[in-house]
Symmetry: none
Subunit: 288 residues, 2 copies
Amino acid sequence: MPPQRSATVAERLREKSGELTAAERKLMVALFANYPMAGLVSITEFARVAAVSTPSVLRLAKKLGFAGFPSFQEELRAELSAQLQNPIAKHDRWAADAPDTHILNRFASAAMENLSGSLKLLDHRAFDATVTLLADRKRKVHVGGGRITHAIASYLVTHLQMARPGVSLIPAAPSFWPQYLLDIGKPDVMVIFDIRRYDARMLEFAASAQERGARIVLITDQWISPIARLAVHTLPLRIEAPSSWDSNIVPLFVAEALVAATVNAAWRDTEARINALEGLADAGRRNR
Amino acid sequence: MPPQRSATVAERLREKSGELTAAERKLMVALFANYPMAGLVSITEFARVAAVSTPSVLRLAKKLGFAGFPSFQEELRAELSAQLQNPIAKHDRWAADAPDTHILNRFASAAMENLSGSLKLLDHRAFDATVTLLADRKRKVHVGGGRITHAIASYLVTHLQMARPGVSLIPAAPSFWPQYLLDIGKPDVMVIFDIRRYDARMLEFAASAQERGARIVLITDQWISPIARLAVHTLPLRIEAPSSWDSNIVPLFVAEALVAATVNAAWRDTEARINALEGLADAGRRNR
DNA sequence: ACAGTGCTGTCAAATTCGTTACAGTGCGGA
DNA sequence: TCCGCACTGTAACGAATTTGACAGCACTGT
């Protein structure tokens, strides 16, 4: 426990700087030279860097009110951790006058945590590589999901179809999969959403697709579906929710970001397609 | 000594993520949950947090090419202090190590803005009233959406069906709507997603449903679909995205929150249903 | 069915760390 | 010069950490 919760180690150190001995001042200089990392090494190392003896370090820690070197270090870590935390998920973005415990607010903060947590977990190079695959019109794209994530897969397909040809949705019912496999060939890309309750049949299906030459991109949760072993790229996400079921907000986020990035990556081709689509939509509206 | 000075621990970890064992994946998740602070404690503590044994931590460190846990930790410290001293690196800690202009980051900040903006826009009493309607088992529930939002509607249906009986998805194709109208009756609830490009046919359909006595709940964007005039409750949301199309993350958020709140509102009834569902799912898995 | 492989945790040895006790050093004043 | 005082480092101890060896376990393929 920090003796005075309100003051950081740095503040306390400056406050007491008048009553420090020579060795302690050396330590202070060494600490501030690389604050607070310099204090997060072993007491031996810290003493060596500051060119003092280990007991001198201990004496400084005690002078600052800590029980020993470990609690001094723990406080430094806590400060740093707080500093690193995102100021993102703060309270100003809560529902107007609903209480903090309202489900909307609990859900919103879970969603924000999931989103920022996922960004840390994600490898943006895997994301970019996936976009390169999706933007390659020589490859057909197949998108599939489990019972729950099928809706997300469908959403991705709807948008990708607007951006490029050759995109199809893998049927929800496994009984259609064998015949669907026939259409999967060498350079194809298969995007699979597989979250929690990993579906064993989906794993088999993915293995078959891979044997036929398809490159598999997996969008999964932080515990990572076994399909990862077959995938060329894996995008792990956080999906916790204050609910009986997981949250698919972040998977949808990834789907939308993939679409936007794919459109950007092949804008020359996409532009014409979108314009053509607009024309057809207008015509359809007029004819009704 | 770090074996390859050019790669950060995070990068190396992601690179090897395909060949990680279950315990190692747990460690990876724990580390990324609070990167890199989680790895700067003792090996004992780190193992405890990730719920694995201490040798597993050691094995991961060796797999990443370090001589032992201390050198692994030393590398983490070195990275962090480099980051702390370099003010340029300050901001990109929030999203992996991709540049600020990367589509993932632009999309993420748009999503956060949309979410917080929607919470301010939303009337939580309308939300609660909607939940009351959805939790009332005497009412059937019909859910529909436009071309794009149909996937969100489908997602809502999938989850609501797990929570209560009498939930159905309005078909995507307008040609099926007349016959579907036959099943809509007096106390029913109709949840409609209608965003931007408001669909005129959807407006007609909603009017017919209302004439038959259905209560309409509208989930729409901030410009508010004309269906609002027919609706008993309207939930306006923000949906901007750095993309050619709108973002449906917030509509999905509302759908998930509605489900969670509906489950809570009628937990007594729902619990039995969920348990029965679990039983059926297990049986299905065994019979395969 | 069954051997084989790979993964994981338990245990104990070896090392390192944190702490205490104590002796030495330097400085100012009598 | 000698004493007293405050500060500092050395040395030794106990505690905690790190690491290697081993055995149990699940899973795979024959």
